[in-house]
């Protein structure tokens, strides 16, 4: 790192500045050093190993022979479950990301008000995000019960006959998305933290200029929290593609629900890796997912230039 910085320095015309730039470079690397140690120490090897493994018939315990792109070829040409799991996951992500993002921004806006009992409200709305484990899934199985569950009971009040959520392949994924919406507290927390960073002077001057509440939201709040929205969207995409437990726990068969409608990508990958020990194949699946997420993130990154506003400058 040091050498590249030095090698570049002489090119710089003004010597004084180059010294400063070099100091800056050094400090930059000093700051990210802990992460670099982690990267080279514990993250990179498993990642590269899995990349190599994706070109082998690796089964963890007995073999690791190079087989070229066989895993990838098989996946695309010869594995209906791969496509099914990819479809299920894309469906889920496409609905879940926008809904949870909008949901958590709105919730954060409401919880950013200063009215009585706000501390308690915030704790309550964050609660579902803390709850984890089988208890939650079990509760939702009850809530989603087609005849006695709370959700269909409430739909019934509105005169809507509720579907058989977890046993009808058409409704299994919407059911899971609904469950995710209920735990938007984590995202809400982020936006809440970010809303605190919006200088109140901006609102005051906008108000003096006679801007409406909506205009103030659109032209001040939204740009100011846009870096966090960007973060939330990118990580929701990444996280959404990793959905696993729900398809595993919330269905009878435990293996992807009625007609495989909850066979998510990672669940299928898990079955390949730890059920059938086709680890090489699972690793290939992981890298295909990697490319998909990467492309989506890059698109996101491109588009972010248009709508993400960095007060501190983007360099």
């Amino acid at each position: 790192m040091k050498t590249t910085a030095q090698a570049r320095a002489p090119k710089n015309a003004r010597k004084k500045l180059s010294k400063l730039a070099r100091r800056e470079e050094l400090q930059g690397y000093l700051f990210i050093l802990p992460w670099l140690i982690g990267l080279f120490g514990i993250t990179l090897f498993p990642m590269l190993f899995s990349l190599y493994g994706s070109f082998t018939d690796y089964d963890v315990t007995s073999r690791m022979n190079f087989i070229g792109i066989d895993n990838y070829a098989r996946m695309f040409a010869d594995d209906p479950l791969f496509w099914k799991s990819l479809y299920n996951t894309l469906y889920y992500v496409a609905l879940m990301v926008p809904l949870t993002t909008i949901g958590s921004v709105l919730l954060a806006l409401m919880l950013n008000e200063k009215i009585a009992g706000m501390r308690v409200f915030r704790t309550i709305y964050y609660l579902p995000a803390v709850l984890s484990g089988v208890g939650v899934y079990f509760l939702w199985i009850q809530l989603l019960n087609p005849s006695t569950g709370l959700i269909n009971t409430m739909l019934g009040w509105a005169g809507i006959p509720g579907p058989a959520w977890l046993s009808d392949p058409m409704w299994t994924k919407p059911a899971i998305i609904m469950m995710k919406l209920w735990s938007v507290g984590g995202g809400m927390l982020l936006y809440l933290a970010s809303l605190q960073g919006v200088p109140s002077q901006l609102y005051e001057s906008a108000k003096l200029d006679g801007a409406s509440a909506f205009r103030r939201f659109w032209h001040i709040t939204l740009p100011m929290i846009s870096p966090v929205i960007f973060f939330d969207v990118v990580t929701s995409f990444i996280g959404g593609f990793q959905i696993f437990q729900e398809g595993y726990v919330m269905t009878d068969s435990g293996n992807g629900g009625p007609m495989g409608s909850l066979l998510f990508y990672n669940l299928y990958m898990w079955n390949q890796a730890f059920g059938l020990f086709n680890m090489g194949y699972a690793m290939a699946m992981a890298w295909v997912l990697f490319v998909i997420v990467l492309v989506l993130t890059l698109i996101n990154l491109r588009m972010s230039k248009r709508w993400v506003y960095y007060e501190g400058g983007d360099d």
Partner: protein
């Protein structure tokens, strides 16, 4: 105040690093699975034994067995480690890969051959050559631990499925509580007599074949002369007349009750908290032998009977399905010979009998299973007798993962998206494609 703020993080790091050293150092020494030399005495070998039996009922039972073993000799010391069900095998795989596995682990009966082919468990044939204990076990279970004619595990326990029926409900419906249904036709006849309908839907359903612990797979065995998805030459035999007829029959139950009723009721009790049979929502119910312990705990007032699974027609066989767990020595375990001593003990009469009596669980050791003392319990006795009709199948290696291909097709039948013929034809085609790919 500002200065303090600057110092604070650094102090925290320092404190945490100190704590870190304090926290980790002693443990790293004590938790190695290698032999520990008892001071002054001859070296004792410590075995790590991983099970998923950590509940308040199971743990004392397995630990008593381990204690007995530890007392019985002074060469080997077994240490029990509980790991949650399911995750235990993830850890097993990782530790085999890293070369530091447990010495003995409880594993699923179904994939012994798959694990053997992947080099995950230890070939026991050299020990068996000196110490032939094959005759201890039910032959069906023994066949299951073989891979290329060598044993890679010892069967520990098994299970079988029986028809539980509510005698009180039988009496109310005018049925003889001592005459449970023998055939599918009788089953249907009884079930309809036992149905209790009110304007709000069913108060009691006589029987629905897919509630309880006997799924489509099991029914296909029952209705197809005891044959599984693969024939003796390991070819897929999914689209057979017997299986098509069975699937049609299963579908007819749903058609009669209505899919909505079935879905709604199943969602009410499928989750495990409120049991349909114990709460009287269902009059006949297929479950394993150990289900009886639940009845004893939650339904003391119930007057119940058990019977073999009804057969398709007189003489076609009361086939049931089974499963269970094996004990095996992970590949690369440090002390295979001592581990062998221990698994031999675990599957011997004493340990097996104790396990059977405490859990009312079917054990793999014939002598222990048929011990008169354990068989004083009528349900347990019925389950032991039922083992003769119970099928346990080894899946051909090339078909590993076949269930993910069959299930969507059978699901489709119950959603009216495929006919039974279409479903089984499609399933067979998919599984054959998988097998030819894997060969």
């Amino acid at each position: 105040m500002k200065k303090k703020r600057f110092v604070y993080p650094l102090a925290l790091v320092a404190v945490s690093l100190l704590l870190l050293l304090a926290a980790c150092t002693p443990e790293s020494r004590s938790s190695s699975g290698t032999p520990t030399a008892a001071t002054g005495e001859e070296p004792k070998v410590t075995l790590d034994f991983w099970t998923f039996w950590g509940s308040e009922t199971r743990r004392p039972i397995i630990e008593k067995i381990i204690d007995d073993f530890n007392q019985s000799q002074d060469r080997i010391m077994v240490k029990h480690t509980y790991l949650p069900f399911g995750d235990i095998w993830t850890k097993n795989l990782a530790s085999i890969a890293a070369g530091n596995p447990a010495d003995v682990i409880v594993n699923d009966y179904a994939d012994v051959n798959l694990r053997a082919s992947k080099n995950q468990n230890t070939d026991l044939s050299s020990y068996l050559a000196e110490d032939d204990i094959e005759s201890r076990f039910y032959p069906e279970l023994w066949n299951n631990v073989l891979y290329e004619d060598k044993a890679y595990a010892l069967p520990f326990n098994t299970d079988t499925r029986l028809l539980y029926y509510n005698k009180e409900a039988f009496r109310e419906a005018g049925l003889d509580p001592e005459q449970p249904p023998q055939t599918w036709a009788e089953l249907e006849e009884y079930a309809q007599k036992l149905d209790k309908k009110s304007e709000n839907g069913y108060e009691q359903v006589g029987f629905y074949p897919l509630w309880g612990d006997f799924g489509v797979d099991s029914w296909l065995i029952n209705g197809d002369g005891g044959n599984g998805y693969f024939d003796e030459s390991d070819q897929a035999a999914i689209n057979t007349p017997g299986k098509v007829a069975t699937l049609e029959w299963l579908k007819s139950w749903q058609d009669r009750l209505g899919r909505q009723t079935v879905d709604a009721m199943k969602a009410d009790f499928g989750s495990g908290v409120s049991d349909p049979f114990i709460s009287g929502k269902v009059a006949m119910y297929i479950q394993t032998g150990t289900y009886n312990t639940q009845i004893e705990e939650f339904g003391q007032d119930l007057d119940i009977g058990v019977a073999p699974i009804p057969e398709r027609e007189a003489g076609s066989g009361h086939w049931s399905s089974g499963g269970g767990f094996v004990v095996e020595i992970p590949k690369g375990a440090a002390h295979p010979e001592e581990a062998w001593e221990f698994i031999k003990y675990l599957t011997d009469v004493d340990a097996q009998k104790y396990w059977a009596m405490e859990n009312f669980d079917n054990v793999a050791n014939i002598e222990a299973a048929e011990d008169p003392e354990a068989n004083e319990n009528p349900v347990y006795q019925a389950s032991v007798e039922n083992l003769a009709d119970t099928k346990v199948f080894q899946v051909p290696l090339s078909a590993s993962g076949y269930k993910d291909l069959i299930n969507p097709h059978t699901d489709a039948v119950f959603l009216d998206k495929e006919t039974p013929e279409q479903a089984l034809e499609g399933a067979e085609k998919d599984v054959q494609a998988l097998m030819s790919k894997n060969q």
